[in-house]
């Protein structure tokens, strides 16, 4: 009884200490990186389906590098490597760059595929009304492509929530790093790491719920 009381107390006492960096680091880091990454992804996808040869080459190179190297290595290059080249970045800023570039590279393929999945007749219908390329894209194509890309984009989103734990390696005091510190003090790694895993699980569960809502909302007017 003594032991389980102590464990319970540990869980309760540490809960807020672990959750707090989750709220002030993990969630904002995820949201900001995902938003920037999504913008990069849309721009890269549009370039990939265009005739802009040079930009296409550059963006293909970018996707190739990011997808072909480990995220942790990229984070290390940006935070520990770049200072040797004279670029020193705040740890949080360095993480945002690394995560955004990652989301941008992976999700650009998702968005490209989603845009290409929209029937050519939709472009032509918009064109025939005299709409400009960007009007057709924004008002006709992207709303339909959004629906197709929601599930894979949420995959990336949920993946990013968990990947933010890698920022612990470059001194960002997010949830995982705080947990590591408490574990080192209390010698209860099993309980504490399970506790932080549970909090990640809760964050991702909320995102899954949001995904279902988003899919429901976007399926209006479209056959399932």
């Amino acid at each position: 009884m003594q032991i389980s009381d102590r464990i319970l107390e540990l869980i309760i006492n540490s809960f807020w200490t672990i959750l707090k960096p989750g709220l002030i680091y993990t969630i904002p880091l995820t949201l900001i990186s995902f938003m920037i990454g999504l913008i990069i992804a849309i721009i890269v996808a549009l370039i990939q389906i265009s005739n802009l040869r040079i930009l296409k080459g550059i963006t293909s190179f970018y996707v190739w590098i990011i997808r072909g190297t480990p995220l942790l290595v990229q984070i290390f290059i940006i935070f520990y490597g770049l200072p040797s080249a004279g670029v020193t970045l705040e740890p949080l800023f360095a993480s945002v760059i690394a995560f955004s570039l990652n989301v941008g590279a992976y999700s650009s393929e998702t968005i490209r595929a989603a845009i290409l999945s929209i029937h050519k007749g939709q472009w032509e219908a918009g064109d025939s009304l005299g709409m400009t390329y960007f009007q057709v894209l924004r008002r006709i194509i992207l709303p339909q492509a959004a629906k197709v890309s929601i599930p894979p984009l949420f995959n990336a989103f949920i993946g990013l929530v968990k990947d933010t734990s890698l920022a612990a390696n470059i001194t960002v005091a997010e949830m995982f790093m705080v947990t590591q510190r408490i574990a080192a003090k209390t010698y209860e790694p099993l309980i504490l790491y399970c506790e932080v895993a549970f909090i990640y699980l809760m964050f991702c569960t909320i995102l899954s719920k949001i995904q279902s809502k988003a899919e429901e909302k976007l399926s209006i007017g479209q056959k399932i």
Binding site: H119, G121, Q122, E124, A125, D127, S128, L129, G130, M131, T132, Y133, Q135, R139, I140, P143, Q144, K147, I220, G221, Q222, K223
Partner: protein, 244 residues
């Protein structure tokens, strides 16, 4: 008056249209017929520049566009497209917008009409096509014939100088075909300037002021249905009567 001069179009090595000369009279209904692969649809698509001709000129009421294989300015393309309305074989309604949303899309986005005004005019069009009660329906909730009528209203919403129909009933069964054909006939009687590509010879006979017979990318003959029916060219006579 819509004048097409010396228009040619190739896809790669194959020449689809060869030096087409054609004058489309205002307030007339022109029907383009011909065997499959003859270039009818390509000709129609060249009129609103969904296909850019390789050479020739288009002249819509004085707005002239010349083609010589170089890039055509986007502005010129858009100007011409605003004056033409297109109805597609596969309807191509926007699935994420209601019937009303489909119709007001062009006026709001392209003509910059205020939304309430666009809606007012769209309702008038919906009444005209007899689908006012379907204004809040999404395309997938409508029958093929209703979808095509909405697509016609969408084209009309831009108040185009010329209406283009690309095999408008090919995707419809005979029952639904009738409602679309009678709407087109109505528009024809209201003196809209119409160009239709179709295989329905009985319909061509009924609505056409002029019939263009096209084969292998060339206009073989043009005239009224009666004139073509008495053409010395047996193939044309056969074609007109084969599908009745």
């Amino acid at each position: 008056m819509f004048v097409i001069k010396d228009l040619s179009k190739s896809f790669g090595d194959s020449r689809i249209l060869k030096n087409i000369h054609l004058t489309i009279k205002p307030n007339h209904t022109t029907v383009i017929i011909g065997p499959s692969g003859s270039g009818k649809t390509t000709l129609l698509r060249c009129i609103n520049l969904l296909e850019i001709p390789n050479s020739g000129t288009l002249d819509l009421n004085g707005d002239k566009l010349s083609f010589n294989g170089e890039r055509v300015s986007k502005k010129d393309i858009l100007t011409l497209r605003k004056k033409t309305g297109m109805v597609f074989q596969g309807f191509n309604l926007f699935p994420h917008k209601t019937a009303l949303g489909n119709i007001i899309e062009g006026p709001i986005t392209v003509l910059k009409q205020p939304k309430d005004e666009a809606i007012k005019e769209a309702i008038k069009l919906l009444k005209k096509i007899g689908l006012e009660d379907k204004k809040d329906s999404y395309p997938h909730q409508l029958s093929g014939g209703q979808q095509q009528r909405i697509a016609i209203a969408r084209a009309l919403s831009m108040k185009p100088d010329i209406l283009l129909f690309d095999e408008p009933t090919s995707a419809l069964d005979p029952e639904l075909e009738i409602e679309v054909l009678s709407l087109i006939k109505e528009l024809s009687e209201e003196n809209y300037t119409i160009v239709i590509v179709t295989h329905k010879m009985s319909f061509a006979k009924e609505v056409s002021d002029t019939i263009i017979f096209i084969d292998k990318g060339e206009i073989i003959e043009q005239g009224t249905y009666e004139e073509l029916n008495e053409s010395p060219n047996a193939r044309i006579r056969q074609f007109l009567n084969a599908f009745n």
